[in-house]
Subunit: 527 residues, 2 copies
């Protein structure tokens, strides 16, 4: 199988995406995740233009141990009418100490004249000087031919001269960039083939998704002979994003017969995508190919039936191959069979004709109608099923609570909560403070319950999400709160819905505590 090098730019081009902003800690953590995912190169920033990136390279040199990937520092060619040796940007690249550097220069004559404002000849010298200087300093140099495809369409000769300038000066790879993202697979394929003919074994590809074709563009370039693909692991990037590398890796390695990452890394793909999204605090699109939460989710009645008969009936690859898993979703479209499959996961004994099933299905549909969504909140789903089937013995009753939030003219604010719970015939009333009312409520509730159930002490909230469901009627709208809790060993998600955010939060909190107590009680009963 032909090896295709994978070059990830999440930390550099990805950081240009709207809403993406990395701390140095974030960047170190993402670099480790990308290394575990098996990418070959991690382009980590521009040390000259961004002080945070400079700090990253300093810290990375000391504390980042990568097992497979190599870090790449990124910068531009030297300024016009100067020398590479005097250029601060070029010096900053060397100072990072990375063995690999990426340098971008324009490959479009129009861009050189109109945007760079210099002559085509000087631009070629800027490319050649910079690459030669870095190569002579012992660096492995990647040359990013910016605007290559648009440039080639206007003046193919000049675009190829830009590549030649870099190649002759010692660049190890020439990366053809569709900087504006406006190209289609056919033109990418044809133009890449020309570049491969002139510089065999040296051509890479870098695309953007402005026509919705970044993945197909990248595959077309690989089929035309490129052996180095650039992108960002989950598609972050300026405007519509860069090529989604996880999609490209899975397409090439699982379906098209190329080798991108070590074989054992493919199954870590979904995990890597989720870690990167979590660190970046950017929601991973549920529908992202291979790694999205819904990538193997079946909702239509017929699809659900079909996939239960034979998964390949509605799945093009095995979800386990990429570390993802199949999901059966609940909805009015999904039909009884999906719902029963889901219920059977909670209560295995239940048969299709159980009379209790009808009431349970009705209750679940009613909750969905109110705005509950159990797709993510499987712990709440389990609680509803167990309660409705009379298989849940309540551990406590919440008798009363009150939260108070206050703020004075100096913007000093505080939140406190008072809670009263009953366990059997014993009552506990207590209070606590917090960073906000929900935090105070969580702490007071656990404080009261820990008197009876010390195992709740280890539980903590790890995520809290609020969704207003009827935009357009904001303040009277239903609010859905999702809470993710963890006891260090397991994590579970619960949901609450109400017009009142505090009420919705307490519902999710109570479900979370009940779920933990229930799960622990099963463990104690087990032999």
């Amino acid at each position: 199988m032909k090896k295709i090098d994978v070059f990830d730019s999440t930390l550099r081009d990805g950081a240009q995406g709207e809403g993406v902003s990395f701390s140095v800690e974030d960047k170190l953590a993402i670099a480790r995740a990308l290394d575990r995912a098996g990418v070959d190169y991690i382009e980590a920033g521009n040390p000259h233009s961004n002080p945070k990136d400079e700090e990253f390279f300093r810290r990375a040199a000391g504390e980042l141990r990568l097992s497979h990937a190599r870090l790449v520092a990124f910068g531009s060619t030297r300024r016009r009418d100067s020398s590479a040796g005097e250029d601060k940007n070029v010096a900053a690249l060397l100072e990072t100490g990375t063995a690999c550097v990426a340098v971008f220069g324009k490959a479009s004559e129009w861009q050189v004249r109109e945007v760079l404002g210099t002559t085509p000849e000087e631009n070629l010298r800027m490319i050649a000087d910079t690459v030669a200087y870095l190569a002579e300093a012992g660096r492995r140099v990647f040359f990013d031919a910016e605007h290559f495809f648009d440039g080639y369409k206007h003046n193919p000769l000049y675009a190829m001269q830009a590549l030649k300038a870099a190649a002759d000066a010692g660049a190890c790879k020439l990366i053809l960039c569709d900087t504006n993202g406006g190209c289609f697979p056919d033109e990418i394929r044809a133009i890449t083939a020309e570049a491969v003919k002139a510089f065999p074994g040296k051509i890479g590809i870098h695309c953007h998704d402005d026509t919705g074709c970044a993945v197909a563009d990248t595959l077309a370039a690989v089929e035309a002979g490129a052996d180095h693909v650039q992108g960002t692991y989950i598609g972050f990037g300026e405007r519509c994003g860069n090529t989604n590398l996880s999609t490209v890796i899975a397409d090439l390695q699982l379906k098209l017969g190329f080798q991108c990452v070590p074989a054992d890394c493919i199954a870590r793909m979904t995990g890597a995508a989720r870690i990167i999204s979590e660190i970046s605090n950017v929601r991973l699109s549920h529908s992202m190919p291979y790694v999205g939460k819904s990538a193997f989710a079946h909702k239509g009645g017929m699809h659900v039936d079909g996939v239960k008969k034979n998964p390949s009936a509605f799945e093009h690859v095995d979800p386990a191959a990429v570390g993802n898993h199949r999901q059966i979703l609940l909805s009015e479209v999904s039909g009884r069979s999906a719902l029963i499959a889901k219920i059977s996961e909670v209560v295995p004994g239940l048969t299709k004709d159980s009379p209790e099933l009808e009431t349970l299905v009705g209750e679940l549909k009613e909750l969905e109608f109110q705005g509950y969504q159990f797709e993510a909140a499987t712990a709440s789903f389990e609680m509803v099923v167990l309660k409705e089937l009379g298989r849940f013995r309540p551990f406590f009753a919440l008798e009363l609570f009150r939260i108070i939030g206050e703020q004075d003219s100096a913007d000093r604010h505080m939140a406190s909560a008072m809670v009263k719970v009953r366990v059997g015939d014993r009552y506990e009333i207590t209070a606590d403070e917090g960073d906000g009312p929900v935090h105070a409520l969580d702490r007071a509730l656990r404080k009261a319950l820990e008197v009876f159930y010390p195992n709740l002490a280890g539980v903590r909230l790890i995520d809290y999400k609020v969704r207003v469901m009827d935009t357009g009627k904001a303040t009277a709208a239903m609010v859905r709160v999702l809470i993710e809790s963890s006891d260090g060993e397991n994590a579970w998600t619960t949901v609450g819905v109400s017009t009142d955010i505090i009420n919705a939060s307490i519902r999710a909190l109570v479900d979370s505590m009940e779920y933990k107590l229930y799960r622990d009680s099963l463990k104690r009963e087990a032999p």
Copy 2:
């Protein structure tokens, strides 16, 4: 220009997407939006399998007036070993009264045997009978050849026989479906070309995005001669979604020389996408080609400089052509020039060398560091700029507030807020109740301020969003609240950040009121 028919399935296949659930009202509103966007056909549901869809068609017949698009009812071929005339599903299609119907049947021999559990011959009869019965009843019949591509790869003869059965029985279009979404553009192109050769002018295409290639697949089919494209306007659909029709329409019509929708509809594209996303309550991906909020957003320093010199330097089409607009984003990567461009929009007179600018840039960076994001909250951005430059005269001071939330064992809950404001040397203290603490606070604050500023009476919150910023540290995490307000004429967004959701909300609320009062004061000053 060759006309390509646009067939939208947001209301049918789109409803299979995770998190998508439409009420009948939603479906009527989306049908109107799709009609205005110029699509030719709106596949609106399966009247047999879903009572909500049945109600939709009943109501649509009475109250939905479409200017251009035609509604399509969707269902399967008749059951095996029966007749189309006795089939309830087929009868339900006729009962909708739509002039067009879509019928799906299997085009894969493997699927027929393994999933449908019948003989290849009976499956062909099911297709032929059903199409003939509906065509004889005067319907225009679209035949969806389910699993066509996978079927063709295993047994091309049988896949073509399925098409022939439908064509001979009177189907007006034969739609080739990549049901599992696993195909690549090259195979789609080659196989579509064969189908076009056998049934010229009759071939449509229906793809899914499981390899990230749905758009490119669809374009490849059109280049191979298909003249009917199916998809969903913003890509909703099972698993990874259907072909994103807005992307395909813009690609074909703006860049590849085909005619999809009436010329004046292209500029309504962004509006249509946002309406559909809003009604569906599914966030429109910011990076969606053409219609996403970030599709023409520039953040990198060089890109910002370049696009200011000449937009085509970094944009493949004019954002106005699709009803979108260019955005300059703020961030540490974007450099001073982007920030100054943004500030100049608020205070036009300010020059690059103004000494006040340095302090202002520092203050904005500090707020961004705390977690403020001004990309969406431009009203808050304006307030910060005006305040920092000493150009804002405060309209009021918030002296004190207190919120109380309570709930008893019967799950009865209530929220109230007390607020004290000062305007000049006059004080107003008042209280109100609400659906939750933020709602109560909003009402009490406006009640107090309306004493001084009656123009606040018309302001209402239209959206409220909460984002926890450090997942992993949920309860002590920073919370960002975005509030969208409207006075019926204009809408504006403000932001607040704090560890306390109530504190963050009040900051955004105060900004919102101040913004309204400031804007109104400008109007009064204007001649």
